[in-house]
Symmetry: C2
Subunit: 451 residues, 2 copies
Amino acid sequence: MIADLRSLAAHVSDGASDRSTHGEDLTYHPARPPDAVVYPESVAEVSGVLAFANERGIPVVPFGAGTSLEGHVIPVAGGISLDLGRLTRVEVHAADLAATAGAGVTRGALNRRASEHGLFFPVDPGADATLGGMAATNASGTTTIRFGGMRAHVLALEVVLADGTVIRPGSRAFKTSAGYNLAALFVGSEGTLGVITELVLRLHGIPEYTVAARATFPDLDAAVSAAVAMVGSGVAITRVELLDALTLHALNRYKEAAYPEAPSLFLEFAGTETGVTGEVEAARELCLAENAGSFDAERNEEARNRLWEARHHAAFALAAAAPSGSKFKATDVCVPVSELPGAVRHARGLVEARGIEASIIGHVGDGNYHVGFSVDPEDPEAIAAAEEVNHELVAYALARGGTCTGEHGIGLGKIGYLEAEHGDLIPVLRGIKHLLDPNGILNPGKILRSG
Amino acid sequence: MIADLRSLAAHVSDGASDRSTHGEDLTYHPARPPDAVVYPESVAEVSGVLAFANERGIPVVPFGAGTSLEGHVIPVAGGISLDLGRLTRVEVHAADLAATAGAGVTRGALNRRASEHGLFFPVDPGADATLGGMAATNASGTTTIRFGGMRAHVLALEVVLADGTVIRPGSRAFKTSAGYNLAALFVGSEGTLGVITELVLRLHGIPEYTVAARATFPDLDAAVSAAVAMVGSGVAITRVELLDALTLHALNRYKEAAYPEAPSLFLEFAGTETGVTGEVEAARELCLAENAGSFDAERNEEARNRLWEARHHAAFALAAAAPSGSKFKATDVCVPVSELPGAVRHARGLVEARGIEASIIGHVGDGNYHVGFSVDPEDPEAIAAAEEVNHELVAYALARGGTCTGEHGIGLGKIGYLEAEHGDLIPVLRGIKHLLDPNGILNPGKILRSG
């Protein structure tokens, strides 16, 4: 196979190091190296490799930055890891508030280029993921409440189908109703329907004035009620994140910090100076109406970063402090916003009952929250406890109209939960998979069971 | 057939009047009455009728308010018109900023119910369409720049497939990455993949303070540049609409009004009082920087309505003044925003060269614009001229990275343009159609050619 691949792409490796780094992710899903890693430098190389693999029935697993959290990039059936990291072309269409970017461009790299034109790309899942990977998993994150996630930003895609055919769904225009929305179908398809090689993405003007704020509350219900009141009142909020008291307690211990150990909202507002000043005032009033104990707002960049530090560290602080060799586990359910206070209390109870030290952070405007903790992948009991927590969280969310994944996707880890949530849809999903990938070579064993 | 249908649904008609009103729309596409009209009162009736029709190969055309502009509801192959107007259940989930609505609920009816809870549904295509129809055509309209169109608001759907199976893609949660995004695939599928019977829609809080504004400019380029600058600067604008000088001239003549006959932007801002005041000031500065001759802002509701009257009347004023029996024609291309000034000048030249009195209105923040005029459906030359204008507009847009339809959809009228725009996608679109509607009973002859 390697000789064939070398005739199709300039950069091919079956070295142990390349195979090993493309056989695992941040999670405790067991590693499984691919047989070969291909680093295509053009859509033509991607097309050639796929046509070859499709004919031979060889699995192909697209790989971006490797930051996915549900085992998406692990080649469970072996085959080829297709590392798109060399597709790094960026063209900013400043007058159109858009950019064309290769699948291997990271969101950080796009933002550096966009900022030269006073523009930015808002989707922020935390990790500096590649844009192709972010589209493949329908990433979103902290700014979704204001700007929407990947689906709201993908104007058009270049996609290579399983047989090597290149298609370009979508349009460079901001809106289109021309035929079935294939672009939205590929966004979130986790590499199982085609390989995204290029994206046309919507950008936004960098606001002239930004304020960060943090409010503490007597209890979770009050914090969530304030957030929902803000969203419901039409206050133009850019980010609204919840951290619970125990997460801040743990942060204080690990980071030697002194955050108030109370349920807290981390907020961001952006726009014109007068506009933002008005919005912050409205938000402060809504927080005080929910008995907020403090409401601190910061205008200059350094102070803003300091104020938001706890939020930025929450996800990884505990994991970083864990013994080396530990793997990170992040749950990802999303519920209708009115269910969030109960859901977060339930989650805290679950981890406490098992003696797990976990952070709980919520994209509270969206009803999406993560329980994050570290797990020793060699300890079957620890893995069983982690799975149990995940299972209980999903069951709680599904019973209340929620979903098993708000933004991380199904991958390897949530196939059973997808079946529980959408058993009625599975035949249609399988039909679409078979239509676009009849030989089942594209990231097999993800989203749907193989075979 | 009628006897069978009567056993499947309580309200069935083959009367001439029912058939006639379900055989045409607002456009000059030739009328063709269905053989029968069914008014289902439940999803069970929809399911029964579809299972019956699927077995017999009888075409089924979903019908909402009949306000579509590309012939979607015309039963070109006869069969059953499925009028969903009796599916009018509404349940507002106020604490979740969402509502469940039957497909036959109009956006006006939803807004009346939502307003009881201080909430509103922003998607505004002009007509008081049904929500099922708006989802089926992926409607958007004047508020898209701030809130997005139907796809951004459909959280979940109830859909009856061709064989009568009922599925529920999506989630009541604000975000989900659970499996392929079927909800987004049905939105914009124009009744060709399934029949939408119920929707879970996102709502927003009614802003406490709204300002309408109108700015006039020395030329089109200046007006569009000001609009793009506003969007690019992150000014939180709710609506930004362009009317060209000749449209205002015609309105003055028909409505005996006295609008300044210059390229004009109609603007709306909403949020908190301080916030909006700041945004309006920023917008005024951006307009003056583009040499705006006037910038009038109004705060109270009556004055706001007066100020926006021209925009509300633009689409239909000329059509209303046309001889009775005339049909309305609205083109619908969408281009990258930087292309808009040239596109609008090109459109004005096209209609002037043919002596057609037309309005040109643009959802300028989105790059979407409509040329609206009336056509005598009995006059083949007038129809040929209208088609020629449409053809030239689409060719212009496609040559500049635009799309043949920003929000009206493909329907009957744009199948050839879809093929021109996305020839590479047609095999995939056909595959999806065949997967979900193997007998081709669902709205045949729309989006894709029959057979």
